[in-house]
Symmetry: C2
Subunit: 350 residues, 2 copies
């Protein structure tokens, strides 16, 4: 059997904490018997619940703190005065090597700020990127950055391409992931300056990476590339627009099935298949955004998710740890740094 | 009866020109009996077809040219040497007052470049914005810019807000349109510098405009605002991501109905309602993006549309002309310019 994996959990983060954190950890433990947990949070709210989850309590260690990051706390303020919060203590556990990764459903801005401060970025990586899966017509793709960096330069985008490629290869299992830069046209002259520069670097360098050039918004869901690279502003808007559109269409479909007697009968027959479809596009299946590029595995769960969604986020962290994604990113970056003449890189991006 | 409206058509623009242009004009004429057309294109390809469309030939005037803008022509090149193309001659007709507006399904970049060059922007408007409708849970919203300007400053975004508001009020008939700026969070500190500046101007000015602050990608389809303002890069990605997601979900739904015998039976019962739904989300119903902010009505049809879609685009142009949208935008801008102290505006945006 493989080495046990220890995950630090911010037990107080998210709309329904600590309940869904504990229930989610319990689910994850059943799926992944090699998991151990460090729970950080208010023992008055956790102890009784934990005692009832027999299997979980055997593999979890509770660390008491009453201090929490609230959903409307400003990241800058949390960085200064949040040293004893459940979120920060969980991150510290990764820093100190007591845990292999951390999962939190709490305040996104605070989590990013503290994780960057405490864990620092991997050598050769300037900024981490919020990364997640997308369902596509061909399976799943990876998209980054989804909001960690509103503004990105060409160097950031090149680093995101490398990180995304390693992630798709190791965690998604794509043998040779195709990488595309999200733009508003496929011609070389399209888009912003950082995008054009990044494309030039990716095209002209001898990176061991299958760069497909620019893609457009409607290419995301066709799965024409495995890795979609973009700045955090555009990525966040695209992610949320896709979520909103999916919701809109399901509302329309639901209305269609209610619009006539025949349609209602049709629904009865098709219900099983439609339920399966709902499962296929269930946002809980895609819960858990990785903050890629840090010295440590850090996964952000959606704040409003339930136990199933939180268990998925824990699973994502476990996969990253098992696949040693961070070490592979470092290796890749080091290899590239060695290959590139420093001057060439400097000249191209500055 | 109202004054007749004359629309100049680039008969050679689009994947299936001139066929769908003529068929579309013929459909539009049946819906809008007050329409007249100037057709610009190759008479060898048009004359016979036109003769067969009796009703259309009575209200259309053919202007022969064999020169066309190809779909891969560069805008800069077309601006220099495209003076006798069907697209350019149609734009010239608006400039000279022979037509009230122009519709083309041709090369988007060339159309924007030539329309801006020939028609110029309205007084007080620095850049035009590609504008279109979006279906939402509450009806329809307007979004701009969808790709005319990859990079926008705060002043552009404020001007787009005014243009979008006037459009929603006059063409969509929203009594007091709500306006939102597309961002990656609703807090004041979120997003790029131009967005924060634009929000400040819209908030602090005494513009007669219901500014709702920042919205996020998933708010587009809920219809929480009537006008979504964004730079052309973000708007284009959001539009295409929404289109791609809608397509993905329809593929998933289709697969669900084929996945079992019961589901196939269900489909038979629900077919009528599902067909209606397809009609409701039919992209042809949303065809026709307005290039708002020019001295003249200019509508871009999707290049791959059919006659029905092209007729919709003509209808959009007719609505803009009937509602005198451009004059109302000018009035609004002039009113604001008068109200604002010039210094104040300068200080805020520079």
């Amino acid at each position: 059997m493989s080495e046990p994996i220890t995950i630090a959990l911010d037990a107080m983060g998210g709309d329904n904490a600590p309940h869904i954190v504990l229930a989610g950890a319990n689910m994850a433990r059943q799926r992944h018997p090699d998991l151990r947990f460090l729970l950080f949070g208010d023992s008055a709210q956790i102890e009784d619940r934990l005692r009832k989850l027999k299997g979980l309590s055997e593999v979890a260690e509770l660390h008491h703190t009453t201090d929490v990051v609230k959903s409307d706390d400003k990241p800058s303020q949390v960085m200064r005065s949040g040293r004893s919060t459940s979120m920060r203590l969980a991150i510290d556990a990764v820093k100190d090597g007591r845990a292999d990764g951390i999962v939190s459903a709490g305040n996104t801005g605070a989590l990013m700020a503290m994780a960057i401060l405490v864990l620092r970025t991997l050598p050769g990586i300037d900024r981490p990127a919020m990364t997640s899966f997308f369902p596509t017509m061909r399976g799943e793709s990876v998209m980054l950055d989804l909001g960690a960096n509103a503004v990105c330069n060409a160097k950031n985008l090149v680093q995101f391409s490398i990180m995304g490629e390693v992630f798709a290869r190791t965690v998604l299992g794509a043998p040779q992931p195709k990488v595309g830069l999200l733009n508003i046209g496929s011609e070389d002259i399209k888009g912003t300056e950082p995008l054009r520069q990044a494309a030039q670097i990716l095209r002209e360098s001898d990176l061991p990476l299958d760069f497909q050039g620019f893609i457009e918004g409607d290419d995301i869901s066709t799965g024409v590339v495995d890795v979609i690279v973009t700045d955090g502003f555009t990525g966040n808007v695209a992610l949320k627009t896709a979520e909103g559109t999916a919701k809109l269409i399901s509302v329309f479909v639901r209305e269609a099935f209610r619009s006539s007697f025949a349609a209602k009968i049709g629904y009865v027959f098709a219900k099983r298949s439609l339920d399966k479809l709902r499962l296929r596009t269930d946002p809980r299946r895609y819960n858990g955004a990785m903050l890629l590029g840090l010295n440590g595995v850090c996964v952000k769960s959606h704040g409003g998710t339930d136990a199933l969604g939180f268990a998925t986020a824990i699973g994502v962290a476990a996969d990253m740890i098992r696949q040693a994604v961070n070490r592979k990113i470092s290796d890749q970056v080091a290899q590239i740094a060695g290959r590139w003449a420093e001057e060439k890189a400097q000249a191209a991006v500055s």
